[in-house]
């Protein structure tokens, strides 16, 4: 029995070591600190990337708002220029005059059926 006790103690000590090599308490502490540092660096790196990405997103949001605004302005300009009021005013400014009904000659095409439900 007295011969087996040191062997058990050694076995237990070996079980405490996570790796195949033996580490003393100082080395283990340093490794832990290094590991925590590494994780902190990784976290900060991820956070930095997220913040950068967020800034890009904000930039895109601003661009989107600007483009939407320009789109609305263009839509308004097109709507204005397609408006009969605008077209008539420009036609008049170009010297055109409204058609005189008395000058229009209507040609009657025989057997042409009126268009239904217009």
């Amino acid at each position: 029995m007295s011969q087996q006790q040191p062997i058990l103690a050694a076995k237990r000590r070996r079980q405490l070591h996570p790796f195949f090599f033996r580490m003393g308490p100082v080395a283990l502490s340093m490794c832990s600190v290094l590991l925590i540092c590494l994780m902190a660096v990784l976290y900060l790196s991820q956070l930095g990337q997220a913040v950068t990405a967020n800034q890009q997103i904000q930039q895109f949001h601003r661009q989107q708002a600007t483009l939407q605004r320009e789109d609305q302005d263009l839509l308004y300009t097109i709507a204005q220029e397609k408006s009969p009021t605008y077209i008539a005013e420009h036609a008049k400014s170009m010297g055109l005059v409204p058609a005189d009904p008395t000058t229009v000659k209507i040609l009657v095409v025989p057997h042409l059926q009126p268009v239904q439900n217009r």
Binding site: L47, A50, V51, A53, N54, Q55, I57, Q58, A65, Q68, R69, Q72, D73, L75, Y76, I78, A79, Q80, K82, S83, P84, T85, Y86, A88, P101, V104, I106, V108, V109, L112, Q113, P114, V115, Q116, N117, R118
Partner: protein, 586 residues
Amino acid sequence: MNTELRRARKRQMFIFLLVCLGTVVLLARLYYWQVLQSQSGYKLAQLANNEHIQNVILDAPRGLIYDIQGRILASNVVRDDVYVEPLQFTVDHPDNTQSELAALISTLHQVLPKVSIEKLQSAFASGLPTARIAVGIDPSQSQQLRELQLEDVFLEPRTWRIYPGGTLAAQILGYVTQNDTNNHGNYGIEGQYDALLEGKPGSFTAVTDLQGNPLDVGATNEQPALSGANLTLTINSTIQYMVESALADAVKQLEADSGSVIVINARTGAVVAMAGEPTFDPNHYGQYATQQGCLGTEEVYFNPALYCAYEPGSTMKAATMAAALDQGLITPDTTFNDPGCMTFSDAPMVCNWQLRAYGTESMTQVLIHSANVGAAHVAHDILGADRFYPYLPRFGFGQPTGIDGPEATGSYLSPAEQGWTISDLTRQAFGQSILVTPIQLAMAYQAIANGGVMMHPYLVAQINKNGQVESTQPGVERRVISAHAAHLLTEMLTQAALLGTAQLALVPGYSVAAKTGTATTQGLSADQTEASVAGFIPASNPVFVILVKLDRPKKTIYGSTAAAPLWKTIAQQLMWYYKVPPDQQQ
């Protein structure tokens, strides 16, 4: 224990007690902040959250309004409001405040000339955190201010409702009142469909940085804004413009007080154009607050075609004839003796215009001559109250048409009501003692044009709720008269237009079925008329129903001379625009 050791023990105890005391103080303070303060309404947590959590309300874009051809009638644009920060300015410029303020005011005034220097000085003198100095500035001015990057000046974008056509279809559309908190549709389609058009605002909650930029790394909660439904109207902008221009010209030329025109698809009941004069510009609606329409009875924002009830005069004779034809009591050739004035045993005498006597005349000739006596004879001697009155509600008089939007109902006295006399019957037969709206009368003629079947009038052809499209299908309101009666009446109205008072409404190449009306109002002089023409074209296969009404024209006061030329102009343009083939040799 020696003395040194005892002293050391005492020192240790003292330090221990100090540490304990410090710990107790810290715990007490911690309890105060974490428990006592935290429980008193979570003020600290709320204040902390306010520092870095932003909750923004996202405005829902108001739905657009299109005409039937996809042209935009109502749209939105974003324009900036300009704010200054007077309080921050004094903090930023403790020295030389006056000189720097003068320079800033001068720069702002150069970019925004409409904002006076006095107003700018007053804004900066207010000492407020923020003061608005301009609303909805031009994009070029916004650009200039952005480039200048002025301190203590910032721009706040705001969405504005805008109408590219200006006054085009203004009384159909209505307008939107816009303030800092919300937009609200008033009158017309904007008012009627406000709930659909305004959409559903969204919200955005996020952790922000010092500049207020949302940080996606924090908690974010976004409810996207749901834009309002887009509406497509049955209105054709080109026709609407043509009708409005022609009406404005006629009102001006004839020195009329006001007027209205309706163009309706004879088969579907869809409103193709609906114009009123005077009208307003919904982009600057505030400038028209004191103007009146409907002969001074309503604000100019109301649509006169739906709101202005009037005595229709002789255009009503078509309804009287329709009632008698439908019941088989007369034919177009039924004759009677027209002495110019007719006395009734139980009603006051009825006379024709200028007391003209036509002798023996047919029912068609009653319409050709627009004889009041003939119409009163049909209502009193042939129909009687029992057979006349059921046709008034059938034609839609005295009740709303159900068109999209609020409307007046008009009114008339019937035998069931107190105050009714037989005189009401004889007068209603030729359009007096009854108030109808232009849309009611137009729909009555639509029923005649459509073989006796009245359709449901409508203005909105389609509603697009973010991709979910609802189209309005033409719907039958009711059969008013038989197809045979409608056919006979159409022939009578065609003769009335061809040989009677509506000759100036005739369009070369097309058959026209129309009736003029010259209504006077009791209590006013005889030259204060409401001149109108109602009818449809081509009579052989009706495509459009047109109603023209001019209120109190001065140059000429009759429907036959004042309203008929305008009816012809509109009808002719419609035939050309829609390429409707002529049905007659010229």
